[in-house]
Symmetry: C2
Subunit: 415 residues, 2 copies
Amino acid sequence: MLQSKLFTRPRKEAPRDEVSKNAALLVRAGFIDKLHAGVYTYLPLGLMVLKKVENIIREEMNSVGGQEIYMPSLQPKENWVKTGRWDTLDVLYKVTDQSGREMALGPTHEEIVAPLAKLFVTSYKDLPFSCYQFQNKFRMELRAKSGILRTREFIMKDMYSFHRDEKDLKEFYEKMKVVYARVFERIGIGSQTHLTYASGGSFSQFSHEFQTVTVAGEDIVYICGKCGTAVNDEIIGIQTTCPNCGESKLKSEKSIEVGNIFELKTKFSEPFDLIYTDENGEKHPVHMGCYGIGPARAMGAVVEVYGNENGMIWPESISPFRIHLISILGSADSGAEVRAVAEDIYRELEKKGISVLYDDRDLRAGEKFADADLIGIPHRIIVSEKLVKASQYEYKDRSADLEKNVSKSELLALF
Amino acid sequence: MLQSKLFTRPRKEAPRDEVSKNAALLVRAGFIDKLHAGVYTYLPLGLMVLKKVENIIREEMNSVGGQEIYMPSLQPKENWVKTGRWDTLDVLYKVTDQSGREMALGPTHEEIVAPLAKLFVTSYKDLPFSCYQFQNKFRMELRAKSGILRTREFIMKDMYSFHRDEKDLKEFYEKMKVVYARVFERIGIGSQTHLTYASGGSFSQFSHEFQTVTVAGEDIVYICGKCGTAVNDEIIGIQTTCPNCGESKLKSEKSIEVGNIFELKTKFSEPFDLIYTDENGEKHPVHMGCYGIGPARAMGAVVEVYGNENGMIWPESISPFRIHLISILGSADSGAEVRAVAEDIYRELEKKGISVLYDDRDLRAGEKFADADLIGIPHRIIVSEKLVKASQYEYKDRSADLEKNVSKSELLALF
């Protein structure tokens, strides 16, 4: 893409009211814009990152047989009354239509997916299965000061699984632990993200979170120095050793919850009468699990881990483009030649199917580099008068902090 | 995909409260489920169709340089007060948060995109550009009886364009007419869909709609017998001849509005002070256009056009799968052989990158064919005991109503 065509551009200064590092950086870089407290617009570069995170999650959900669906935000009050959450869930936004009918703006979808499953489950032969969605959630958060880590409106991937018994649920749940770890590995925060034991409420002994260690975190986790498993704040009082390996040395760190998985068991199948008939004609409630990841929160966690005062270096898997090509035009005389060389390599790279952001703007080198640092594409190619004269390109791998001058054929061979 | 793994299945009967053909068919086929009036869940097969419609629209928007973004649903009241629409737009859902602050649930995004553009537009050099989104809209519709044609919550593609003057807006607007026609052509309703002159309000002489002729339509259009251009109900009183070619014979037809385009001009740039400075240092308001398509409504229009009492035949471009492979297992003896042949061809087709729904279920032929008719995949391959004995496959192109027995190599050569 030609950078001159991009309608957004980096801003000189962070907005004064943006205290979080992730949002301050992403707003400065032109990836997002804050509409009001806890509510953000995703601009072209930001949406590209978000979609890449989503696609990685989608591939992993499909790998365990998850079937993608899309459920509504406008949810009948009756469903929420049935589970007792209409009056108890404090983050629930409520809407009234012209006839005075009240509805919930979905903060989660157990109240919708359980009766949906009832349409298709009668026999043990209909189990197990799982379905998931990427869907906009609404939560009336009191605190909305952590940028895109905690917002009032956000896309969430929520998966729900359905099983004949606790054993089958447990097997799937263990598979999901592995799949979740792979998601965070693929988006670049695998080594900072810990499987964390959390309180399971009244229905399971534990649930699990995935917590990414960073100083911006709102949570605190206690990490086992031996195996890397963690426990969260809620349960450290009752669980003072590593629940995985028994190690007694746990180190506290600030962290961001980037995912969570729950064994819901029959908590939602019972109120909605979601039952199946087994081989002997006996009826049982379906066992459910639920599994959440917020792609935007995960993106925010990546920014907290990889951002610095000058900008970002995106992990290649979720970078908006693979290469940032920058022309340094110099004088009017040399400018035309530099431009021709840059356009030529731009075309060649695009022809190879490599996504390139080409900074073709007529700006000073310093300004272009500052913008490029903010945008954070990991591979950079520079074309300048001096380089063109030597038939060379400057190539920089920013993650590896590697920089070298290369010929055209050497450059093309790198990708 | 193995049909036995799909968690949904066609239902025997249409739901009694579903009066529209599109929703009755899609619910029976297991593509959608009605949560409550005007609010639907998209199930796996339905979401596949919706995503294909979206991708066609996305490709066409990108072809004119549109940049994809994603704006929020929770919108500040102030923005709506500024344009005077807080009190006048009757479909506006309003939400109040815990601090008593009122917000709109976005039914459209002019109130958000105009101040957003203001962040990035100062000079004539920043124009023109266009941006679009696929985003969930909320509209408090009084009538919600046309299935997925008119719902209270729906994904909409809304594009907004920004220009220095009316001439530049007009040029882009004309380009969008062509692009819109191509979208409807690609999703299979090109020949039923007419460019329609509509009322432009106080800001333009005309706006334009794209209307698909079908008996289920809520609208009426008057179509020129000569050039195919139409006028809508609102303006037939003042415009009694074809506004394109002057022809006086116009034929009335029921129709569905599947898209609309407006020249907003300065209606939204003025309240939000969206101005730019020209080459001479003079300031002018930005001229805007907006361009909407509801992918679900377009999908509903396709069902109205292609559906019949037995089910659907999807246009290949938006069919959930390209091929429906059906095994007729017969007796236990022959069943194993039929299954082996069907699995073999399933693997070969998938290896070629062709998407196949393989009905591997252990059901009677009649039941499988009835389900396949409902689901509506255009190409069908049948494997049965008799065919296997003759080393043949039955291939059916349902759109062309063509049926023939072919060998394996002939079959593979068809795709």
